[in-house]
């Protein structure tokens, strides 16, 4: 009998909410506004409905009722809408899109296992107790979701003192989009939603207040009574103020609770008020204000993360590798921030699912397009204009994002009173498309594509015609995510990336030639997440990549040209990895995340191995022969384990200590003998002579929040040991070089540093950090030409010991805010001339040891104002103006120093990129 009651109760909770009454209702409607229907019911049955008018404004109803039970009436009325209801005697509470309390199918199997036992228990008694004593009355006279008390799970299965798992989806109520990265927590227990907005939280049964936070959304909370395993979805509202706020809320609590060190999530919103050069809001540029992320100088492409080389960062866009993340040689990033959701930056504690680069991962994701309504966003600044549209294709299921950005900087060139640049042309553009299809709760497919192109035509030399130069990134990704049940999901993705450049030099007709380079990468990844319920969460999978590289071809242009053709033999390689990691919550305080990645790489034929004398430096003179490899031969294979470990210990509610160790292996190297990344860098594969780079990092940190998380602070100390860093013999020329081993040098490196960081939330918000960081390399070959600086450790080009960043924003009113940035860092190392001599009648400079000197220190201040019109909730267009002054002090920061010989006299020059203050005004809109 008890079994029967329990089952009935369970069914009850499944089918409707609240108590059933016997009220019946009659009425007939034809395209009647639902509000009118509600008024009719209220009038006839003296019911009271609680709802927000805007939820039902657009809804109508057609149909007839004749003495129909009220529960059936309500079900019929709201069928096919997002409105859910809770019916309690004479009161009906409506909610928008929130499945208030239900027992989802996905946990029903769990329930099924437990229900026989639980049904044995006197659940009713406890339930009554709870209801009457604890929340009777709270759920009355209230249409406020935050104070309403929801029931989760089945009362029949309530077991006092036990724990249950609550699962659900967090969505944006205006777009219906799942929110990834939202923090759902109650007390000490917290969960972060996955890509589909899904969370899973294990709590003791009973009453809880669930808090939900996400950048750009209003923080919200729900009162629940957790009876048993159950599902509870929460919709979040867009925070009207948040559009321009610098918000780091998503990481609130995450600061101290996240297990890994050195991981930051940057949302596009974060970048909006940071004053930027020429008004281009740029998420990657904002990243450089974080502790430990540096660039060589203003306008330099490539990042140096914690003393890593600029080719040691893995940039992923929707999972596809980005080989050149810069437009215009580094002044802009290749991503239009309007089309981006956000970016995870990992500088240590890199999870086992990522690999292939030593220093960091920048995981960039495109916006999941709005599935409810069309939105358009754009902006105009002095250099570019951009437009992004989100278009629902199948309402609530499928949608499309299309975004484009173009430059029109040619007019600037025309206005420059400088003959050298009059006839030059500069163009760049980028496009993003993404199609997202939520087939059902379990399956989701997304397809994305990316294209960026830079084209230049330069009047570049003494010989009066032009050189054309262009480079392009192309990427495509297809991803299928599937959730098998509450604790198991998987995703399968395939990606393609391509980076090419080409230039043509046609100024001398008879020597006109073109030259190109290209890399293509095909990748596939299968990733699984299995929640073994507390305390273990497993992530495992495998990844495979194939690389095809055209290291360079040179070809004559025009029939007059006598330039010879050179075609370096293509390179091929495959890279694979298996990984498994476990998020292990040992107890409330101690949590571990450990994993192992095993990667391997094979350099594939066809190809030629050059042989050299054993006891001589490798150069064309010491070549003794060659071995020819056939197609598909495994010329050289490297493999090795990469251990990843992170631990977090909560000292108290507001502070924690963390430790992480990770090892990475890198099989792909950018050959560049300039100080920063350049579009003409050649990515080449490890081969029989170029060994993979290996890096180990240990990082320890202390984290503390103050004033309920308004202030977040941290101190992190790290040490890195790197081996096989790739560098070059002095003056080496690697273009069109088939024998990289004759010019490349490999040596160990070491980096260490400490980073202090403070973030503040509220009307005055922003962050401040100070880093002390050093990085060295040693190139000590067996021969003179392979040894730099006598084979001792010397600072790298990007060794900048002291860095201070301050990014701040103050909201004077909700419409008006001001921001201020301050940046200081030590000048980078540089090689200076130390002597002068004459050879064959020509004067020549002799240089110091590599990187023996430094350029002057860098100091910059920026200010910005943002003024917005219209609020998102008014549904009208929303726009904002921003005015900023970059380098407000007008300080001529040295970018580099160089030396010229003018009539036998050595003259030193300082080159500054921004020699004065740069004011910018830009207009941005969204509707």
């Amino acid at each position: 009998m008890r079994k029967f009651i329990a089952l009935a109760l369970m069914l009850l909770t499944l089918t409707a909410f609240g108590q059933q009454t016997t009220d019946v209702y009659s009425g007939s409607f034809q395209n009647t506004a639902i509000e009118q229907v509600i008024n009719d019911i209220e009038g006839k049955l003296s019911y009271t409905f609680y709802y927000k008018k805007e939820w039902i404004d657009s809804l109508t109803f057609s149909g007839n009722f004749s003495n129909t039970p009220i529960s059936e009436v309500l079900t019929t009325i709201f069928d096919g809408t997002t409105i859910r209801f809770y019916h309690d005697s004479k009161k009906v509470f409506l909610t928008n899109g929130i499945a208030i309390i239900t027992t989802p199918e996905i946990v029903s199997d769990l329930l099924a296992q437990h229900s026989p036992q639980q049904a044995e228990q006197p659940a009713e008694e406890t339930k009554e107790l709870l209801f009457t004593k604890e929340y009777a009355g709270e759920n009355q006279n209230n249409n406020d979701l935050e104070n309403f008390v929801f029931e989760v799970g089945s009362r029949a299965q309530f077991e006092g003192g036990a724990s249950s798992t609550m699962v659900g989806y967090i969505k944006d109520n205006s777009t219906g989009e799942p929110i990834e990265g939202a923090l759902v927590y109650s007390g000490n227990k917290a969960a972060v939603t996955g890509p589909d907005g899904f969370y899973s939280l294990n709590l003791t049964n009973g009453r809880h207040e669930i808090q939900v936070q996400f950048t750009g959304m209003k923080r919200t909370k729900r009162k629940i009574i957790l009876f048993s395993n159950g599902r509870f979805d929460i919709d979040m509202e867009v925070d009207v103020i948040a559009l321009n706020e610098v918000i780091v809320e998503a990481t609130r609590r995450a600061n101290i609770e996240q297990v890994n060190t050195g991981i930051e999530r940057l949302n596009v919103e974060d970048s909006k008020t940071v004053p930027a050069v020429l008004g281009e809001k740029d998420i990657l540029k904002v990243a450089t204000t974080f502790a430990g992320i540096q660039t060589v100088g203003e306008g330099a492409a490539g990042f140096n993360v914690r003393g890593g080389k600029s080719d040691q960062n893995l940039f992923l866009f929707e999972g596809a590798t980005v080989y050149n993340a810069s437009h215009f040689l580094g002044f802009f990033s290749v991503f239009n921030s309007d089309a981006l959701e956000g970016m995870n930056v990992m500088k240590s504690g890199i999870p086992a699912s990522y690999g292939g680069r030593l220093s960091s991962v920048f995981d960039i994701s495109a916006k999941t397009p709005n599935k409810e309504e069309v939105t358009v966003e754009g902006g105009i600044s002095s250099v570019t204009s951009r437009l992004t549209a989100e278009i629902p294709i199948i309402k609530e299921k499928a949608s499309l994002l299309a975004s484009g950005r173009l430059t029109y900087s040619n007019w600037i060139l025309e206005t420059i009173d400088h003959s050298d640049f009059k006839n030059n042309k500069v163009n760049f553009s980028d496009f993003i498309v993404k199609y997202d299809h939520q087939i059902n709760q379990e399956n989701r497919v997304s397809l994305s594509g990316y294209l960026s192109e830079d084209k230049f035509r330069l009047n570049s030399d003494t010989l009066f015609s032009f050189s054309d130069f262009s480079y392009a990134n192309k990427m495509a990704t297809a991803k299928w995510s599937r959730r098998f049940n509450a604790t198991f999901d998987a995703s399968l993705s395939a990606s393609y990336s391509e980076y090419d450049y080409e230039f043509e030099s046609t100024q001398l007709e008879k020597n006109a030639f073109g030259q190109d380079y290209g890399i293509r990468e095909f990748g596939a990844k299968l990733d699984f997440n299995k929640d073994l319920q507390s305390p273990h969460q497993l992530n495992f999978g495998l990844e495979a990549k194939r690389y095809d590289i055209n290291p360079g071809t040179k070809f004559p242009i025009g029939s007059e040209s006598v330039a010879g053709s050179i075609s370096l033999s293509p390179e091929q390689g495959i890279e694979g990895a298996l990984y498994v990691s476990d998020n292990h919550e040992i107890n409330d305080k101690l949590s571990l995340n450990y994993g192992l990645r095993y990667s391997f790489f094979t350099y594939l034929g066809p190809g030629i191995t050059n042989l050299y004398l054993d006891d001589a430096p490798k150069n064309p003179d010491t070549k003794t022969g060659e071995i020819i490899h056939d197609k598909g031969d495994f010329i050289e294979t490297y493999h090795g384990p990469e251990l990843r470990f992170a631990a977090r210990y909560l000292l108290d509610d507001n502070s924690s200590v963390k430790l992480s160790y990770d090892r990475s292996r890198q099989y792909l190297h950018a050959l560049s003998n300039s100080a920063s990344l350049s579009p003409t860098d050649l990515w080449r594969l490890s081969n029989e002579y170029i060994e993979p780079q290996v890096g180990d990092q240990i990082s320890v940190g202390y984290y503390r929040d103050f004033l309920n998380g308004e202030y977040e602070t941290s101190v992190e100390v790290y040490g890195k040991k790197l081996s096989n860093l790739v560098d070059f013999k002095t003056g080496a020329d690697f273009l069109l070089n088939d024998r990289i081993e004759t010019i490349a040098l490999q040596g160990p490196g070491k980096s260490y540093g400490v980073e202090f960081s403070l973030k503040k939330d509220g009307r005055l918000n922003g962050w401040f950090n100070y880093s002390y960081a050093r990085t060295f390399i040693k190139l000590d070959g067996s021969f003179d030409e392979e040894t730099i600086n006598n084979g001792s450790y010397f600072p790298t080009n990007y060794d900048k010991p002291h860095t201070i960043n301050l990014v701040s924003n103050y909201e004077i009113t909700t419409r008006f805010s001001v921001s201020y940035n301050f940046v200081y860092n030590t000048g980078r190392p540089i090689t200076f001339p130390t002597g002068l001599y004459e050879l064959n009648g020509i004067e020549i400079l002799n240089y110091s040891d590599r990187n023996e000197y430094r350029i002057p220190d860098y100091v910059r201040m920026d200010i910005g104002l943002t003024l917005k019109w219209g609020h998102r909730l008014t549904k009208g267009s929303h726009s904002f103006w921003s005015v900023s002054v970059y380098n407000v002090l007008g300080r001529k920061n040295a970018f580099s120093l160089y030396f010229d010989l003018d009539d036998g006299e050595v003259q030193g020059y300082k080159l500054s990129v921004f020699g004065s203050a740069i004011p910018t005004i830009s207009y941005n809109f969204k509707f």
């Binding site: 050069v277 030399d461 020549i844 001529k892 970018f895 921004f914 020699g915």
Partner: protein, 410 residues
């Protein structure tokens, strides 16, 4: 040839700086730089019979002149040996300059090395380098061109001299070029009288020196390199050698350029190429990594001592052309300011003081014609004693050249 992608990127980068920024270049004090004193071997021998020279100097601090005698390595024993044991001594003629006998010429196909023993007994030796013949330069020609200014950004019209070498594959395929040129200047109004400023004004006196015909010689001051290794049929075509500004020809009557081609070893080429790349540096991020460049000379006593410079062994061939200024690329003629044709001569019957007087007035009052008068000088007297003035470039050839015809001038 000289152009490569790197400099395209550099220009592009500088362009970027200019577009998006207010990039600027300022002078920088070089005081903080410490000096490193190293031996520099500046030596080359060729297959031409002549006095060859080895210069042995130490490096200078960057703010001093390179010809500082106190930096010379004096008192050393210097000789060249070939692979069959022939030794040629180089005798010190002046501090740091060591010279071979006049008859010395390298033999093609032989390999040579340089030996140095200093007065203190330190020994240095170069690698053995083979002497490879240099094919003939097929022709030398010029084309109108506008050269972009360096930092000061003014474009300069002029002519670019090129060479073609048909059988470039018959030499070592790696070449270094040297040039020297000469402008012959014959002025139309050679000075017979001159006006000498005195307390009262000007004294007119006869001028007896013959300043009608002068020559202005210049030589290369940068590395010019080319290789035919990458060319389809072993030719060298359109190798840019020298750029001359249009201004250089404003009073030139005849011009001659001699270009010497040196067939050097691949090692020498790669050594010079590094130097060339470093000298091209302009501070952009795409500059090559700079550093010390050592050549083919080593210290036999101290393997850690770094020796700069190079012992170059080359076959050489030269070609000289002569041309009248009217034979330059016709396009340049529009840019040529032929000073003497433009200014002509003025016969003036007032006083010299009056001729120049208007110069003190502001230009708005004196007019442009009067302002030009400052450029004129007296060169002759008319039949009735009136003064004849002409542009000073057209009265005294020494203003744009030197007296004395070079021996080779035809």
């Amino acid at each position: 040839m000289k152009r490569d992608k790197l400099s395209i990127i550099k220009s592009l980068w500088l362009l970027a700086v200019i577009i998006v920024a207010t990039g600027c270049v300022e002078e920088f004090e070089t005081d903080s730089i410490k000096f490193e004193k190293l031996l520099v071997v500046d030596a080359n021998i060729s297959d031409q019979a002549k006095t060859h020279q080895v210069r042995l100097f130490y490096t200078n601090p960057i703010d001093q002149d390179t010809d500082n005698i106190s930096n010379a390595l004096t008192g050393a024993t210097v000789w060249v040996e070939d692979n069959i044991g022939n030794r040629t001594d180089f005798i010190e003629q002046s501090p740091g300059y060591y010279r071979s006998p006049e008859s010395f010429a390298g033999q093609r196909g032989n390999r040579y090395a340089l030996f140095i023993t200093t007065a203190e007994g330190k020994n240095y030796q170069s690698a053995y380098e083979e002497m490879v013949q240099s094919p003939e330069i097929t022709d030398i020609y010029n084309q109108f061109n506008i050269e972009l200014g360096d930092r000061n950004a003014t474009s300069v019209p002029g002519v670019q001299f090129f060479i073609n070498v048909e059988n470039a594959d018959q030499g070592s395929q790696f070449y270094r070029y040297e040039w020297n040129d000469v402008h012959q200047i014959v002025v139309p109004y050679p000075k017979k009288y001159e006006a000498i400023p005195s307390r009262e004004g000007y004294d007119v006196a006869p001028f007896t020196l013959d300043v009608e015909e002068c020559y202005r010689e210049e030589r290369f001051d940068e590395l010019i390199l080319a290789t035919s290794t990458n060319n389809a049929n072993g030719q060298l075509v359109e190798v840019p050698i020298k750029f001359s500004q249009a201004y250089d020809f404003n009073v030139t009557t005849r011009y001659s350029i001699e270009i010497t081609q040196r067939s050097i070893s691949p090692e020498a080429y790669s050594y010079y190429r590094k130097i060339e790349l470093f000298n091209e540096s302009n501070g952009s991020l795409f500059d090559k990594q700079q550093g010390i460049i050592v050549g083919n000379v080593i210290s036999l006593d101290d393997p850690d001592e770094r020796v700069l410079g190079y012992f170059e062994v080359s076959g050489s061939s030269s070609k000289r052309i002569y041309l009248d200024y009217t034979a330059l690329d016709p396009e340049i003629l529009a840019y040529l300011d032929r000073t003497c044709e433009e200014y002509g001569a003025i016969q003036y019957s007032g006083s010299i003081e009056d001729f120049y007087a208007a110069n003190d007035l502001p230009e708005s009052l004196r007019g442009s014609e009067a302002s030009k008068r400052s450029l004129y000088e007296l060169f002759d007297l008319g039949l009735t004693g009136e003064f004849k003035f002409a542009h000073r470039f057209c009265t005294d050839c020494r203003r744009r050249g030197s007296l004395g015809k070079p021996e080779y001038w035809q």
